[in-house]
């Protein structure tokens, strides 16, 4: 376990070494959030309304979804796996007493924890600004869904990364999945604002557990009685992704041709 902790720690340190990128990223996201705020402010100032959302609710939704998607999705994790495969560095892990998936997970967790720090700094004032109030049960379920979202994000981009075994370059796959997950997680627009037929498609996939569900818990738009069912569905999807990742990795290793010392 200690070896994975060291990888986890290294991941945080690597993020700290390139902190300009993280701060550039946070600045850029904050900029786009301000634009979103003005967009909805202008709509509500005209007396118009988006579904059952009040302006405060909608702005809080976008602020929190942005923070969660920034933390869980935009760390280019798939490219780390791709680079190790395409440059042959993956061989180093095959001959060491270390599990590649567990090592990658420790790396991903390092990325998430590093991004959580600004997340907490930003979320604390938002909590008071938007007059959000959460009870212990909501905090518990939010944490559970955040963990499930982290695992789903990890497995999806891990699978995208190991697709390099089969197709080489995965920029396209990565971009495609990023767009799909961002949209299906409610990053572009709250899922309950979509028409019924689109909502049914989105609800089939587990990506709403990454953004929409945990954020709706905080904004008070989620019925907690659905939580056990959603958690169970999240666990089932994680198991499916886990199995798929195992099969693809084993099959990829059989195809691997790496040269060098």
């Amino acid at each position: 376990m200690r070896k994975y902790y060291i990888i986890f720690k290294n991941s945080i340190q690597a993020n700290l070494a390139y902190r300009f990128n993280t701060f550039a990223f946070l600045f850029a996201e904050a900029f786009s959030f301000v634009i979103m705020f003005y967009l909805f402010f202008s709509i509500y100032a005209q007396g118009q309304k988006m579904g059952n959302y009040s302006l405060t609710n909608l702005v809080a939704y976008f602020a929190l979804t942005k923070l969660i998607t920034v933390t869980l999705l935009y760390d280019n994790f798939g490219f780390t796996v791709r680079d190790e495969i395409m440059e042959g560095r993956i061989v180093e892990y095959l001959v060491k007493p270390i599990g590649y998936m567990a090592k990658s997970f420790a790396l991903k967790m390092g990325n998430i924890i590093f991004r959580l720090l600004p997340f907490i700094i930003i979320i604390a004032p938002l909590y008071f600004f938007f007059s959000l109030s959460v009870n212990l049960a909501e905090i518990f379920y939010f944490s559970a869904f955040f963990l499930i979202g982290s695992l789903i994000s990890f497995f999806v981009f891990y699978i995208v990364g190991i697709a390099s075994f089969f197709i080489g370059e995965i920029v396209g796959f990565n971009f495609l999945f990023l767009n799909i997950i961002y949209f299906f997680s409610g990053g572009a627009i709250p899922i309950d604002l979509f028409p019924e037929n689109i909502r049914a498609i989105i609800n089939f996939f587990p990506f709403k557990l990454i953004g929409f569900v945990p954020v709706s818990i905080i904004t008070g738009n989620y019925d907690l009685s659905s939580a056990p069912r959603d958690i169970l569905s999240g666990i089932v999807w994680i198991l499916i992704f886990y199995g798929l990742a195992k099969i693809l990795f084993a099959s990829g290793i059989r195809r691997l041709e790496a040269y060098g010392s």
Partner: protein, 264 residues
């Protein structure tokens, strides 16, 4: 000028061949680019399911803004790929080789990468503009009388966007591992896809018309498409494009002085 055009064409061809080395990847990016563009359209479609207008813009007019934004964004990606060459050359130290070439270094790093899959974004934009013009009941005569002015506004928008991106990318001279400048460029450009009339505060509107001229990246071209020739809007677009381009040139030269080679 012809020499520059020839070099650009060579880079575009090389970029295409490079992408074709991984055909499935190229296909996936092309699909992802169209999905990415469609998400913006869906966003507005859902929004207009609840509201009649956004700061005075109805759905079809808003689609003219989105179309203009996608057109500018697509052209920037297909010609210079948001200047990804700048951070890459600085990080790898390969800028050394470009500086000594008998041609503008800024030009060389600008055309270093051109993404052919982003023609999908341009096609989506043209489809959106055409369908919105039809939905707004514009006659062919209307469209053709406004087209030359619209093209001027879009050309200015491209120059302004290029310059803003160049400013952000030049930060790589100080922060060597500065791939993060991409996020800044992407979010600024994406923000141009909303009508700038949403900014109710005068200072914010002024900021997005001058310092970060989001207004001139998509809203102004869309206004020209809707209302036709507007002397002040055209003049401001041209003036801003010239000012921003020369400012970005100055900043590039200033930043280049801070370049310390990373190669041996």
């Amino acid at each position: 000028m012809l020499r520059y055009l020839k070099i650009w064409k060579i880079h575009v061809r090389a970029a295409f061949m490079q992408r074709m080395a991984y055909r499935l990847n190229f296909f996936m990016i092309a699909v992802a680019v169209i999905i990415h563009a469609s998400i913006t359209v869906i966003f507005f479609k859902v929004l207009f399911g609840y509201v009649n207008n956004i700061a005075g813009w109805n759905f079809n007019e808003s689609m003219l803004i989105v179309g203009s934004f996608l057109l500018v964004d697509g052209l920037i990606w297909t010609t210079c790929a948001q200047l990804t060459g700048i951070p890459k050359h600085i990080k790898l130290g390969t800028l050394d080789g470009l500086i000594v070439k008998p041609i503008s270094t800024q030009f060389l790093v600008s055309v270093f990468r051109a993404d052919p899959e982003d023609w999908g974004r341009v096609a989506t934009a043209l489809f959106l503009l055409t369908s919105s013009a039809i939905a707004l009941n514009y006659s062919l005569a209307d469209i053709f009388s406004r087209l030359p002015y619209y093209i001027i506004a879009i050309a200015c928008a491209c120059v302004i966007t290029y310059s803003v991106v160049a400013f952000a990318r030049c930060l790589s001279f100080w922060f060597t591992e500065a791939g993060g400048t991409w996020y800044i460029c992407e979010n600024i450009i994406r923000s141009a896809g909303y009508p700038t009339d949403i900014y109710s505060h005068v200072l914010v509107r002024l900021l997005f018309s001058t310092v970060i001229p989001l207004a001139f990246m998509a809203t102004v071209p869309a206004k020209i498409f809707i209302h036709g020739f507007d002397f002040w809007l055209i003049l401001s677009s041209i003036a801003l494009a010239v000012i921003f381009f020369f400012a970005s040139r100055k900043f590039w030269k200033f930043a280049l002085k801070h370049y310390s080679s990373a190669s041996s």
